[in-house]
């Protein structure tokens, strides 16, 4: 994973509607990036569902949360609609996994990102990160609140 204290790699990715979303859009706010393997997979469904339940609490802490996977914007749109998600889902589709690799969350053998969380502070510095030991382990939302409280 990316090292704490590093400048977070810049990115500009399409969201579920095809609109470009950049790291710089979040300047002045904290940003939680949830790298996850695949839309609609059972574990990813649980993970984003539980984060959705506490999204308001995350946002009340001057923070935003976005999900990033290698799925296309069309898949993201369907996944969001299916679960009623309101956080942006960004598509690291082409070049495949480029942003996920830049954050050190890529699993080459699987061709998708590991389940990982990165907190970027208001100044664009990596303040915390967490990589699941395996892609089937969901980092609880409590870890996000621990990181935001630091």
């Amino acid at each position: 994973m990316i090292e704490l204290g590093e400048t977070a790699p810049a990115f500009s990715l399409p969201d579920q509607d095809g609109n470009r979303v950049s790291l710089s859009d979040f300047a002045g706010r904290k940003l939680v990036i949830a790298f996850y393997p695949n839309d609609f997979s059972p574990v990813c469904t649980d993970q984003l569902s539980v984060y959705q339940e506490v999204l308001g609490e995350i946002e009340s802490r001057n923070a935003a949360l976005v999900g990033i996977s290698v799925d296309s914007p069309y898949a993201h749109a369907a996944f969001r609609e299916r679960l009623g998600l309101t956080m942006a889902l960004l598509s690291d589709f082409h070049p495949k996994g480029e942003v996920t690799r830049a954050y050190g969350a890529w699993i080459e053998s699987r061709g998708h990102g590991n389940r990982s969380l990165v907190l970027v502070d208001e100044d664009g510095i990596v303040a915390w990160s967490h990589a699941s030991p395996t892609p089937v382990e969901i980092p609880g939302a409590n870890l996000i609140f621990d990181a935001l409280a630091r």
Binding site: S49, E53, V54, E57, I138, A141, L143
Partner: protein
């Protein structure tokens, strides 16, 4: 802001919904979750002291918040377990008319039930459990805790083994 940083799963208290006798297990479950219902059918009859805590995940199961509120509202009239067991057992009958049928079947006051369901008292009680689950790291349902520790995989079997420890033959 609500405190949601990590914290150990809270021990049982007087407000918890607890049934049965035996080794203690705390289960965070979602009444809209089919897996929870299947697991509940397997563990409900075990010789365990089971604590059921609310963990509605509305994104996956949009009806869940209403069902958890219904169980709490029934609980205010002394019928939490009747409603909870029924919601797990009859997952295809969870619309309001089905809930009202249950209320009448259980002999509860329907008018009071309907006024309690959307109340802040009920919402706060459900939220209490959900927030304690978040703080304990619950990220899917069902999730069980035994002796304060999460039971990660195959928890039906783990709870069955736990129950057998209490009910099995004792040594000399």
């Amino acid at each position: 802001m609500t405190e949601l940083t990590s914290s150990a799963v809270p021990p049982l208290d007087a407000d918890d919904h607890v049934a049965g006798e035996g080794p203690e297990a705390i289960v965070y479950a979602d009444f809209g979750c089919p897996h929870c219902a299947a697991v509940w059918a397997r563990i409900r009859g075990l010789p365990l002291r089971l604590c059921l805590r609310h963990f509605p995940m509305a994104a996956k199961h949009p009806r869940a918040p209403a069902l958890h509120a219904a169980a709490e509202a029934a609980g205010l009239q002394g019928a939490f377990w009747e409603m909870a067991d029924s919601l797990f057992a009859e997952r295809g009958r969870v619309d309001d008319p089905h809930l009202w049928e249950r209320v009448e079947h259980f002999g509860l006051d329907l008018e009071r039930f309907n006024s309690d369901r959307p109340s802040e008292r009920v919402a706060a009680r459900v939220r209490r459990d959900f927030e304690s689950g978040i703080r304990a790291g619950v990220s899917g349902t069902p999730t069980a805790f035994v002796a304060g520790r999460p039971v990660r995989d195959g928890f039906e079997d783990a709870l069955a083994r736990l129950a057998s420890l209490a009910s099995g033959p004792r040594g000399p």
